[in-house]
Symmetry: C2
Subunit: 431 residues, 2 copies
């Protein structure tokens, strides 16, 4: 039975310092235990952290059991945090009936990362896993708050769609009553439509990519932080909004996630006064000239991204760089393009990784149809999307941030799967 709060109010492990000498009631999980010459040491974990407890003749359950402890807070220089709890009563709220498949205090991410994901229902309780997921929650909250302050409204668009926004590849197919539907790869078309309602919109929702390759930077289901705004002059207005958003995110992380960053041995991210910009062609030339590396394809490959970021870190003191002026061929059909064939689009790189894609969109019907035709794309499935451009869509643009990617990069997590609670990839659909 849980002790009613009236008798002794529950304290969190983070609230103990000012309670020295007093009795406290703690609740949480038995994180670790060991016997030492008649004394029993246990570590209790709750949502706020961990605390060492010490007692005698306690009937200790298996680790990960839920427990309730009553005891006195005493200073103890050798204990983590500088104090421990001398246990007077210990009650088991819910007994672990099997030994945990993971000894959480000893988990090392680099030893067997797939095992941690196989036993995700327990590994999410680990301190580092929790820290990563907390950082992500704070990041998403700051994203939304920052946009609301700039006059944006949150939208909720369908993830069940009749066609893909990017042209049909990598779509998951769904049996939708008598027909086929697809899982949305992005809220692109819908956030554009909603510019007509709220002018400035954002969404934080899952998106789906049926990519067969399982790399450390891809997920088949991820959280997309999407923004779209109308009445812009160019993609510069979009980049300015993104700079503001990132600044708020970094400030919030500094205020709320210092311990979590310390746990990962990472410094808190900073956003410079102005994030440097470089056109793609110049970036490719620079990488070739300075590092002797020829970037393949029409875009920048991962090695090129790494080198470009190295340059901007060294020469401009910025972990961030906007790469701009991508050619049409490297962008989707809705990217606004200039007569010279470049688009008003950008990627944002952070420490060697693309974390954002954005730009101005085509807002005129004729240009959009022409763009589809030039690519040999059919308008089938896009009819509804195209319709809206007959009705006065203002110049607009936006961007999308992959939440797990940014979280992983901020924390130095090598595999993006560990920045998601229950990742999905080609081989992983459970737990």
């Amino acid at each position: 039975m849980i002790i009613p709060e009236q008798q002794l109010e529950r304290s969190l492990t983070s609230q103990l310092a000012p309670l020295e000498g007093q009795d406290v009631l703690l609740r949480g999980w038995l994180y670790a235990r060991r016997d030492l010459g008649g004394l029993q040491f246990l570590v209790l974990r709750d949502r706020a952290g961990i605390v060492q407890c010490v007692g005698q003749d306690l009937d200790l359950p298996l680790p990960e059991s839920s427990i309730e402890v009553v005891g006195k807070v005493v200073a103890h220089p050798k204990a983590p945090g500088g104090f421990e709890v001398q246990v007077r009563e210990l009650r088991v709220l819910s007994r672990a009936v099997e030994v945990s498949p993971l000894e959480l205090p000893k988990v090392e991410w680099n030893v067997n990362p797939e095992t941690l994901l196989d036993y995700r229902y327990v590994s999410v309780r680990g301190l580092k896993d929790r820290a990563a997921l907390k950082v992500q929650a704070v990041l998403v909250e700051a994203f939304r708050d920052s946009l609301r302050e700039q006059g944006f409204t949150e939208i909720f668009t369908p993830k069940l769609v009749s066609a893909g926004a990017e042209g049909g590849a990598n779509l998951f197919e769904v049996d939708y009553f008598e027909r086929k539907a697809y899982l949305a790869q992005s809220p692109q078309l819908y956030k554009q439509i909603m510019v007509g309602t709220f002018e400035r919109v954002f969404e934080t929702a899952p998106v789906y990519r049926a990519e067969e390759h399982a790399t450390s930077r891809h997920l088949n289901e991820y959280l997309s932080l999407d923004v779209e705004l109308g009445f812009i002059r160019s993609e510069e207005d979009v980049m300015a909004v993104e700079e503001g958003v990132l600044r708020v995110i970094c400030r919030r992380l500094e205020a709320r996630c210092r311990e979590e960053f310390a746990m990962f041995g990472m410094e808190l991210p900073q956003v410079p006064e102005r994030i440097p910009r470089i056109p793609l062609a110049e970036a490719r030339a620079l990488i070739k000239q300075k590092y002797g590396y020829s970037v393949g394809g029409k875009d920048i490959d991962p090695e090129g991204e790494r080198l470009l970021c190295q340059h901007f870190a060294e020469e401009h003191g910025s972990d961030w760089v906007f790469v701009t002026h991508y050619p049409k061929a490297a962008r989707p059909f809705y990217a606004y393009y200039e007569p010279d064939g470049t688009t008003r689009s950008f990627d944002l790189l952070y420490r060697g990784l693309e974390v954002t894609t954005g730009g101005q969109r085509i807002h005129e019907y004729d240009m959009l149809v022409r763009s589809l035709e030039e690519r040999g794309m059919s308008t089938v499935g896009f009819e509804g999307y195209l319709e809206v451009f007959k009705h006065g869509m203002p110049p607009h643009g936006g961007f999308a941030i992959g939440a797990e990617r940014l979280t992983a990069k901020f924390l130095g997590i090598h595999n993006v799967r560990h920045a998601r609670a229950f990742p999905r990839d080609r081989h992983r659909l459970t737990p």
Copy 2:
């Protein structure tokens, strides 16, 4: 070309009152236009509202074109809001190339609601549609803020799952590489697992129900506002959290959405000091005794919900009522039950409609397996879910609010489809 902000900063229609006598720059859509004896009256709509403008010899485009207007704000008692803008310059930013399929200022929801959904890409620009979607955005924001203040952490769980949480019916099937996946009906199992990480969690994400019937209260894809918390004593702790959440939502709507409620002719919702509770059996008896209506099934049917709410409105002055103590047969396998066969669960009704389901969950492995067996349900597909209950899950519970349902009910919207930007039902997959 859009006028650079340096020359004249853009004003919103909501900011004009203090600018009387001054020149302003407005941007938005041409909502309505008419000629009257040489004078041209136009109504400009931006994200904040509408304003009447008047000019002469203007080259007016079709309604819904994006425009930019420079003119002077003058008092005009007959104009809506008490002033109008005398237009000196009008620029078309993006021309509507076809007559809008809907004359937005004249749209009546009750005339042809399906047409409004067919032309959703334009109808979302309507003032009432926008108001409903804004109310929903504010409601969701308040939901999250209220929970964060109570120590909850946001989670992001998979919508692609290997089995349904409710036992297999009404699942959308997805082609997932070499196998089948399903769209999550609820984050139930995942939010329970995450209690082990954060103790108190919430999620605001889409869920899917492949229900074939298309009623005015069902959507096949909707936004579920989910909560789960650990270390509870009973379902009463869960209901207390929900009361707190609803109170914050209602206060926020009062502060931010007065105009929107007025537009729908609805009063702002209120939450009483304590929402009344009634056990299901008593509720059924009361409905029979007071209204002579025999409720069918094991639950309460829609007519029963209506009558029960009528009773509590009349007798207790509450638009809300918790119905408690549902029998096992009316609840899913994970509902915590008592020896007498009732569960520690509840529904929350608001003005005749169920808006929430919640309760305490089974937290012990043996009880959970027994519950599945008693129902003749297989543990296949639930293995991963069951595993976590071997590892000290504390007593816990939670609830879920259907965001569109609550929004619709608050605003008196008859069909829940109109409380979602792009609703999905058996026959509707576009736009």
